[in-house]
Each structure stands twice: as C-alpha cells, then as structure tokens.
C-alpha cells in the first residue's frame, strides 16, 4: 500500500470574493505501516486534506495515487477506496443511527456488498478490537457512555477492514484516562495489524506520544514533514502558527537556559525524565 498526494490544490468559494485556498500545493507520500500525526490549528486545511484521501473532495488541481492508480480517474472504484481508507470524523458518535451496536457496526460492510453473515462477523471482530464488551452488542448505541459511543463509531470504520485509518481529533472531549485508552488502542492497530494511521490533532502531547512522523499544516501548506523530535525543534515557528511544542520540550529548553546541560530533543515524559536523571547522576 502506498498513497501519494501530488500537488493538491483545493479552493473554497471558488470564483467569489471569499475564495480561499484550503490546500495550496500539498504533496506527500504515505507508506504502509506508518503512524502519521497531522497537525495544524483550526482552519489550517487538515480536515480538507483528510477528505481528499478517500476522494470525498476533488482537488482543483493535482491528484492522489493509491497503489499507483489515480483515484480521480473516471473509472476508478471509489466505493472500494472508501473501504480501504477509513475515515473517522470529529465527534463521530453524533453519526450513530442504528438500533443496536451490532447493526451499527455491520452497516458499513453490508453497504460494501458483503452478505449479512460476513458483515456481522467483521462487525464482531471490530467491536472486540475496540475493547467493547459482549454485553454491548444488542444495546442501543445511544445508551452507551461518550467514550464507548466513540469506540462504536471507530469500530464501524474498522469493520470495513481499512488499510489506512484516518482519525480526525479522536480524543476531543474525552477525560484523561479515556484519551490514553483510545490512543493506546490506535497505537495497537498499527503495532499488531500493521495498519497505517493518520491521526489529525491539535494536541501536541497526544501526537508526541504515538506518532512516528509528523506533518504540520499552516494556511493550506505543509510546513514541516519529519520525525517528531525534528519537528518539535521549531518551537517558535510552531507558536507563530498558533500551535505549541509538547510541554516536555519546553521543560528541557528552560532547563538548558537555566544552565543545566541537558540535551534537547526528548518529547515524551519518559524520555525527559531519563534525560534529567542522566544529567543529575
């Protein structure tokens, strides 16, 4: 699996006075098994970009190639693509509609043309994979807690067995333990099943913990595309864009400024702790 975004340009309100370029010459390559954090402030173009990945939006120019094929070609099977590139929107729990969790999650695979049994088997596996209990199967999704509803919504996408899973702000509104549990679950999808993950977020701390590559967007352009430690070296540029580096990189920066010979570059709590202990021992 390989996805290539090639010089994407997308304009909102085209031809009017309010025309605005949401994507301005965006190019990147997504390789199989990567965990990419996509970061940018509100309005930077992240959600617009994400909606191109499974051809929900069509660029004004440029294209996307999935496994070598142009997804905007006239005869391209975009329905199949939407099974392969699974998109979990913001606050997906508002999109639940079926009467039971099982019906909700098997809706996708049924829609893809699988028979009832296949669809329910896929749904079963997906529900288990997001860590919901068997008791949930026959419950109405509306009776579940916020965190559980979100898991159901993610399971609905997983049931279509995507190769790439794109999640837009999956942890928004969850309590701290809920955030950690969900991020761990997503990390596991990559570790255990080799799924490619694109995590859209404005929480640097979330992304720093899990992603192995970060793409930063600002005003419709890709500004940085690198491993996390490299990206978070650009603290002042990130701040100008309305973003921030993870809290831990500020700790190390301030320690260094105070004359303590730490090496910057650590971004997770564990790395930072080890770095401080190393200097003090």
């Amino acid at each position: 699996m390989k996805l290539i975004a090639d010089h994407l340009v997308y304009e909102y309100n085209k031809g009017t006075a309010q025309a605005r370029r949401a994507l301005d010459d965006v190019s990147f390559v997504l390789d199989s098994g990567e965990f990419v954090g996509l970061i940018g402030h509100t309005g930077s173009g992240k959600s617009t970009l994400v909606q191109h990945l499974n051809a929900l939006l069509k660029p004004d120019s440029g294209s996307i190639y999935y496994e070598g094929a142009d997804i905007y070609e006239k005869d391209y099977d975009r329905k199949a693509l939407r099974g392969k590139v699974g998109l979990v929107f913001q606050y997906p729990e508002y999109q639940l509609f079926e009467e039971t969790v099982l019906a909700e999650v098997s809706y996708g695979p049924k829609n893809m043309g699988h028979d009832k049994k296949e669809a329910e088997l896929a749904a079963y596996a997906a529900i288990k994979r997001v860590g919901l209990e068997d008791e949930c199967f026959d419950q109405s999704p509306f009776d579940l807690s916020g965190g559980q509803k979100r898991r159901v919504a993610i399971a609905s996408v997983l049931a279509m067995k995507p190769e790439i899973l794109v999640l837009d702000e999956p942890t928004a509104g969850l309590d701290p333990a809920g955030r950690t549990e969900l991020l761990d679950m997503i990390a596991e999808l990559k570790e255990k099943e080799g799924m490619t993950i694109v995590l859209v977020s404005h929480s640097m701390d979330d992304v720093a913990e899990v992603a192995d590559r970060i793409i930063v967007m600002d005003k419709g352009k890709i500004v940085f595309d690198d491993i996390p430690t490299e990206v978070f070296k650009h603290v002042s540029e990130l701040e100008t864009m309305g973003l921030a580096a993870p809290e831990m990189s500020y700790v190390l920066r301030d320690l260094k400024a105070a004359g303590i010979p730490v090496n910057e570059g650590a971004i997770t709590l564990k790395e930072t702790k080890e770095e401080i202990l190393r200097v003090l021992s």
Binding site: H41, A172, P176, A177, H202, E247, M248, I260, L269, L280
Partner: protein
C-alpha cells in the same frame, strides 16, 4: 486587584461569605426503554454540598459521566434539585419568580461554540441577551462595546461569526454572557473543541474576568493545565465530590487522581516521576519554573558536596 499567585487562596475579603450554597444536592436521571418503561435510575449528583465565595475561581474535574455538567446546570436553574437545594446570591433556584434573576446572575458558556452563537453579526449576537432583558438601546450599545473590548473582539464586531476561529467564537460567546452583567460565569468544558491558541485565549479571558472584574468563575474541564490558577478544585466521581483543595493540594495526590480516570499537569507528573526515581522534589509542582528551581537546587547540592 493584586495578582493572584498560583495555587494561593485569595478570595476577596469583605464580601458576603457564601455567594453560592449547594446543600445536599441530589439529582437522578430516569432511564427509559422504547415503550417508555422505566429501565433504571442513574444518580448523576449524589448528596453534594459546598459553598463558593463571591469572586472565587473554582475548577471542577471529573471523568466523563462523573456528574460535573449535571451539577453545573443546577447553578443557574437549568436543572432543579430533586433533593437538597441550591442558593445563588440569596436566591433559591426552586423559586420560580427568581428564575430570570438567577439566569442573569449566573451565565453559562458551553463546549461547542457553534451551538451558542445566534446572531448573523458579532455585535448582534452580543446584544441579544441585554435586548431580551429589556435594557435600553443606548445602554445595550455601551454593553456590547465594553464586553467585546474586554474579550479583545471589538475589531470583529461587524464580522460574521462563521468566519471566526474556534477561540474567537468562544470569546464572542463569553462576551454575550458578560453583556448581561452576571456575577458568575459557569464554563462547561469551554476549550474541548479548540486548538492550543484558542484554549489559551479562552482561559486567559476567564482569568481576567475573575481577577479584574471580580466575576466568580466555575470552570469544568478535562485539561489539568487549565486549573492550576484556580483558587479551589473539586474532583467529582460517581456524582459525589471526592476531593477538594487548592490545585497544589489536589495535584499532590497523583495516584488518587489516576484512579478517578484523571491525571495531573504534565510538569507535575514529571516532577512526581523524578521524585519516585529518588530525587528530593516536593509534591504538587505546578509549573515549569517551580520544577526548574527544584532541579537547580539539587544541582547545587551535588556541586558543593
């Protein structure tokens, strides 16, 4: 007014001691099935009592479903107690005649900025509240100007709200609330949908309204970093207040918080981890400055030993 120090309790003196009194408050949701039969009862708020002084900044933490929002909705009479009572600025929320006064005294800012803005233009939205209250036109103009200026949104007065960022929209929502001149504002996860800059803008606005205007603030949030400036923190679990104290006291209890599905600010957690590894660092470190001071102290001791 003197600037508050982080974690210090500085409720203004010489004011009535209890602005808000919550007494043995209990509230239950009845769960029903499709045929409207009662399936069961969830106790969302369970025997909660506490007082808030005028001018205090209170933060309420708790995991999803712990009862924070249900509690908050009792303060300005969106929900009414089934048992116990809520007295806001001398008014019992059960007193129907006082309903409008209560809602004027305590305004509310919710999570989603898009659900709270009704005007087509920013200043129209801010004028909506005072208009409804029957404020004279000239005074409405003044209030709109003063509210928007307080929130740093005056230059956007003629903008359409849907062209603003999330943080800007939330500031318009706050301006709309303060145009009604409330004594208290309840913020129910106001930053959950915002990016870092938006979060900073909203929390800075809440602190300024508290410190400069003396407005009582009740902030519900899942972001631990946002509560370190509060006078007092309440932690809820299963409808009850499980912990209460200054941010420093609360964030010294890392393990208890984790059991309640919460956490501590990242710096606090780092300090706590370093302490567990044997460094002499006190509990309840709240800021980077505090942590760095402690580490410098340790460095010095190494050098002079």
């Amino acid at each position: 007014m003197a600037k508050k120090k982080i974690g210090e309790k500085t409720a203004p003196e010489g004011r009535p001691s209890s602005f808000l009194q919550i007494r043995k408050l209990k509230y239950e949701y009845i769960r029903r099935d499709e045929e409207n039969n009662v399936e069961g009862i969830t106790t969302a708020v369970d025997d909660v009592s506490f007082d808030v002084k005028e001018g205090e900044f209170i933060a309420i933490l708790g995991h999803n479903g712990s009862g924070k929002s249900t509690l908050a909705k009792h303060i300005n009479a969106i929900l009414f107690p089934e048992e116990g009572e809520v007295i806001l600025d001398g008014m019992n929320t059960k007193d129907e005649d006082k309903l409008l006064d209560i809602r004027r005294t305590a305004g509310m800012v919710f999570q989603n900025p898009d659900n709270q803005i009704i005007g087509q233009v920013v200043d129209e939205d801010v004028a909506f509240g005072p208009e409804n209250m029957g404020v004279p036109t000239e005074e409405i103009k003044q209030r709109v100007e003063e509210s928007l200026k307080t929130l740093g949104m005056w230059e956007y007065r003629n903008s359409s709200p849907n062209r603003l960022s999330g943080g800007q929209k939330q500031r318009v929502s706050i301006a709309s609330v303060i145009a009604m001149h409330p004594k208290c504002i309840i913020f129910d996860e106001p930053t959950a949908m915002l990016d870092p800059r938006g979060r900073y803008e909203v929390i800075r606005a809440a602190r300024a309204l508290n410190e400069v205007e003396g407005i009582t603030i009740i902030l519900i949030t899942h972001y631990m970093e946002e509560v370190i400036h509060a006078d007092r923190v309440l932690v809820m679990d299963k409808g009850k207040v499980k912990m209460e104290g200054t941010p420093r006291e609360i964030f010294s209890r890392v393990e208890e918080l984790k059991e309640l599905r919460l956490t501590v600010p990242q710096v606090t957690e780092l300090a706590w981890e370093l302490k567990k590894s044997g460094l002499p660092i006190p509990d309840g470190i709240l800021t980077r400055e505090e942590l760095i001071k402690e580490i410098l102290k340790i460095m010095k001791e190494y050098i002079y030993r």
